[in-house]
Symmetry: D3
Subunit: 307 residues, 6 copies
């Protein structure tokens, strides 16, 4: 098989192939039912970040979905590194990759086929610098949609699966009114949870507050920020956060694998108290994060701002 | 392109191709997020059943998902009939097809690609006679899992999408204890909703009762049974049904596109009052259904019982 | 006491006075706690509409709040008519009034003063033609905020009180993103309820559907539309309406005392199916409403469009 | 302008005026919608208590309501002190004042007037010694009404607004059966929250327990008691408290700006375990509170018992 | 075995014995867990009322509890009549009996004993005329406690079991404040359900309204009143009733096996609109009920008023 | 009175009698309504375990139920010890007793009899070694039923009462599919609570996690395990546990008075990660528990395995 010039390669069911050959039979339950788990880390300066933590979380997702991995952790790690190394030459100087594992159950459920072997993909993709650069310059406008995060007794928000419609519907609500808005959803108790692949933090009287891990995916970036805050001597509280807290935040930011830390400018149109974007506590954490990963990710994003 | 001998063909993004060529790029949001809508009817004696009603419902699903169909209804209908006709010769004498439309949003959401054109599939597949035949002989053992049906303000249960994990997790709970069990879920108010692709009915004092359409997909088969019941002079009530009702049912059955009407034997291990499977009201409705579709679907299933 | 030239007069605690003299001691519980009930009808061609029905509803609100009216219905009606007649000369040719009764409990609750006599106001005010005219030309953009309508076991949404913050907060969420947006809230079950002083209707397959009266104020205009629909032979259903229904509506409109019937253009940014604003069923009801009140209220609004 | 002899004065929209001149135009949204925020501290021995903390909380309420204060904190503080000083001579030897800021949004919402300037009031009022004195002698009879505290996703219980009907309705339920009863409401999860302007504490096995701040206004008196308990070496826990806990309390008390700490005698008619009112832990905290504010507030109240 | 003079007899596990010999081994799961079902009818003028309907409902309760009756319906009916006839001579001229079946699962669950045979009791007891007579003279004071009716997905309120603590706790809350109060509980949606063994009705604009049967035991007396209302041409609606409805009722009453129909005077201390007790619609239904059962049950109760 | 040879004796309303004479009049509200509280400890090597803690908890249950104990704690303790000593000779060498207090309200509620004196029972019973021995050998198969634990605002799960139908219905659901299954219920928020008389623990990354005490009976064995874990240096967290946590547990176990600690093998059919039963942390806690009570309770159970 031949790849296009500059085409990325991926691991697909046992082989390294050009990405254009990673195609899913439409009867695969990953396509038919979003019946798949995944996890995504990124590189910083072309080094993979916290791969072990991400793979451990990936295993928890698969376990929740009862998808047998059919591969041990060491192999998964080795292939992930291999896939990255094979694509590395495609990165420009100010660029890094997302690196993901995706395992669908495989098989055709409707035909009574239980899927004895999962469909396995390990792949890289370029971070969306251009479309997100302005967020680092201006801050994110968080909007809370009317849709509530799927409750844990319907499907755990802590499993990272290919069933993303709850978050996509939320995003559509928000984007229909503000194409640059970022949806962060409430749970059925009225507490803020998370946005599409992102965790929410506020700074209140010098302390950092973030929703408890019950209704949100416990992000690795979230974990990283909590650790950094402790090291910096910033008080950190995991607590219920409702709109009253959000509207009274001194600062706010989102974390995600790709964003690391990105400041929030407004929540439902109300500006956070601190006028500087990012505010001082956010800035301190951004600096600490950049030191940790040895990569000025903010500069990296801003570098892609349209001329 | 050439198909394998006896391979089915399908419509895929504008062309009729062998099914093995209907493969989805892994970055398609239909695979990445289960971000797709579908609808499924079946044939009876090789005639497509209520295609217009199914296509109308498909349009409602797409509208809810904000996926532009990029095809008008008449074309969709014509292609559906064409796909069926091209595969018809593959059916055996006691066999019929499921016939489905599947539209994913397409594009790669994570890359900021909005998916200007949906990925479009129209396809047939054989009904799972063998794996379900015993259900018609013995009745279905319905089990209510601990998981609750996704609530309407997280994602509408009335849209028919590729996000099936809520129902798959429910099914796993049930199948782990009884491989022949069939999950029917409660909503967060404690009322029975639906099972994987199926609606639930009970017979109580001669009247037919089925959950209101709020928390369930309003099945075309469900609608058909309601119409038949009216024609047969059987009282029909759309009402909340809880476990008390279910345990006190005289008879119970499931409806779905493939099953049409299939009797229920037990709910959470408690046998329905009527010992005969199917009970007299269920039998009356099965007979009326068979007359309507001019196909003895029960015999069709039982024909596939292992010798 | 003397009124300004062209100043409206109002009934205030037993006397007819210029509006500028209708001032509330700040310790009145109506100011301190929003502890007041009200009702509002309007005139059409300078005739008061359904005053008896509005006064009956006002009595139900006072009863719920345990505010003794200290006035009988006949007197209340006579004063209402009197207040209107005294202000009538201030109306221009294309203008009508809102006409309201407002009773606060009076007294200073915090001082242990139970308020033996309510503070009583009966007043007129000009309809907001200019600010709403564009809604009749373009249709309303309904947005569903993240805030839920106050549940009945916290405070009944069916009492018309001076505690409006739930709806004001909802309105702020929506207006922050779209100054012309109109908030319609979900209840805690995920069903649409009402907007600020307005009821929501959709047209679906030729039938009219509106939320049941449990979580919404049973508007007199809503009642009027239901009666008109029956007279016109349009099927009318009171039912739970969720976002799936709203996104699939053929037409939609809001009713309120001032708007009567005003077409909806979009719900959460998604256009209703019918492109014409108003759609044919909405138009039919508008026409019937105009005949009933003998006033072309749409023309009245459009007349105030900025030149 | 002239005040009545012995009439208190207040700050009203920029001026110091006699209270009888602090009157609100009835179209002000503070009257029409309870659309206002406030905060209240008190004096002890004629010194204002924790004014900074109260003003900071007032700012959070205004921020939640999106009412621009149009005044900086230092000015607000100075005016508050000034208003108090101007009224101080009206206090008797055993008397103190409530001191409040009240900001309504102003304007006439219904007329589309957004209220560019808030209506601003800073005022004093005498504490209700006579009506509450018996509570200090006998203990409070807490009754839990059927009504639930407004949930945070309808309106935050942590904002101190003029929308008090939820608490007034609760109070009416309780007072209709026991004129001396004091309503403390459950939230929708079945946990005790707060009463009209008051926080609830129990003593259980020597530890102090009070509801978490999620569903309750985080009272300054509550905060003060928590600090005092820590200083006294009393364990203090913020936790969910349900009726089981309340019925098994060794002691219980309410805190509020005016009451400081007032012992509870019964909850829903069931006497707390400790027969002495106040119990030993409550007494210890009362003593510490009195030392902190240098005022024997219990004696102050008891002094007003009817002869 | 010998009975005391004038001692009632009962059926107990196969034998007719004096009531004093109907004693339950303490390890019986009926005592240890309230693990029993029952049903109760009454006599009118010493004729058993709607025994078949009550036995049918009893069977539904047993079925829900999975207690095998070990007796057919005809035998149960015959024994019930026999027990009544044997005790009939103990009734005074203005007296009637409650007549009940009670089946506990038997066995000692904790010892792993599944209870192969139920403990069976059929018994009579005198109606509590004296303690309830005043309710017919004055009307019932309904109070809504803070406790919510057990939700259907915890235990169906439609099964009549020996697990009465939810209703007893509600009753204690109410009786602690008003010994003559009668608890009627809300469900978790804020709708009124039922009181201890009694259904709630209101009269509103001439129509009769009663809660839907979802959250309440569908009383036979409730059913009887619905039938009588239809026969009398009174509109009858099964609908959600919240406090707003209850406070605005023109009339209200409770039904139960023993009370038949008993007027309500107040709900949470608020008097129903109609001052006469009973109001005209209630009186009409009482008269119709008395004709149906050929017994002036109101006179029967009033006859037992203390001198 | 004479006991059968080898018959146990019990305390019953003031006297020590053979168990066969501990019989409850069927009109006792303990039988009629499950209107009773109880508590149960056990012996280890024929010494009563933590009797004071159990009696204190018993008092809390009675207080919640408003049942006056009519006996002081010291007497209750003395009688409990006396009853145990009188039955001790009936224990075999590898056997111990459950020791319980049971107080029903007494009286006949329906007759208006308030039950001035409770029915009092103190009794012993042999532990169910044989029926539970296999659980210690194989591990418990936990299944989560569809039924939810009764919510605290319907009846507190923290009171130990004779109203066990919620848990019995849950058990029936589970046992109907797997006679060896053990029901552990979710609460209405989707968090795991408890099983019939048992608390649930998981081991996750070396830490012990168990549900917070809000929705569960705070077991004495649970408390004991928490203390032992602390002493052993095992981190212990009281937190919400949902199905995601449970499916990802490294180890899991149940605690109860009789089981002490019993390992869990599967949750909803999914095996815990650690293949050894019990896993290393569970084993460590079992060992510590056995040392504390000076009794190898696991050996005791296994000794009763069928040959």
């Amino acid at each position: 098989m031949t790849a296009l010039a500059n085409e990325r390669v991926a691991f697909f069911n046992g082989q390294i192939v050009p990405e254009s050959q990673v195609v899913i039979p439409f009867r695969d339950s990953g396509f038919m039912s979003g019946d798949a788990g995944f996890d995504t880390t990124r590189t910083f300066n072309q080094r993979i970040f916290k791969l072990d933590e991400h793979l451990a979380r990936f295993m928890r997702t698969l376990r929740y979905l009862r998808i047998e991995p059919h591969m041990d952790l060491a192999t998964m790690k080795a292939i992930t590194i291999d896939v990255f190394e094979r694509n590395r030459h495609l990165l420009g100087p100010h660029e890094d990759f997302w690196v993901s594992q995706r395992w669908s159950r495989g098989g055709d459920k409707w035909a009574g086929d239980k899927g004895t072997t999962p469909t396995m993909i390990i792949e890289c993709s370029p971070l969306p610098y251009a479309s997100r650069a302005a967020l680092f310059r201006d801050g994110i406008d968080v909007t809370v949609p009317s849709i509530r995060r799927t409750p844990p007794d319907s499907m755990s928000p802590r499993a990272k699966t290919h069933n993303y419609l709850n978050l996509i519907l939320a995003d559509q609500e928000v984007k229909a009114r503000d194409p640059n808005g970022w949806a962060v959803l409430l749970d059925h108790n009225g507490n803020l949870t998370e946005g599409l692949g992102s965790n929410f933090f506020i700074v209140s009287n010098g302390a950092l507050v973030t929703p408890k891990a019950n209704f949100v995916l416990p992000g690795i970036s979230r974990e990283t920020v909590i650790d950094l805050a402790r090291a910096e001597g910033i008080e950190i509280v995991e607590a219920d956060i409702d709109l009253f807290d959000a509207y009274n935040a001194d600062e706010a930011f989102l974390t995600s694998t790709s964003l690391c830390i990105c400041p929030v400018r407004r929540v439902n149109g109300a500006a956070v108290a601190e006028q500087r974007i990012p505010g001082p506590v956010t800035q301190k954490l951004i600096d600490a994060y950049a030191r940790l990963v040895d990569c000025d990710f903010v500069a990296q994003y801003l570098h892609h701002l349209p001329g």
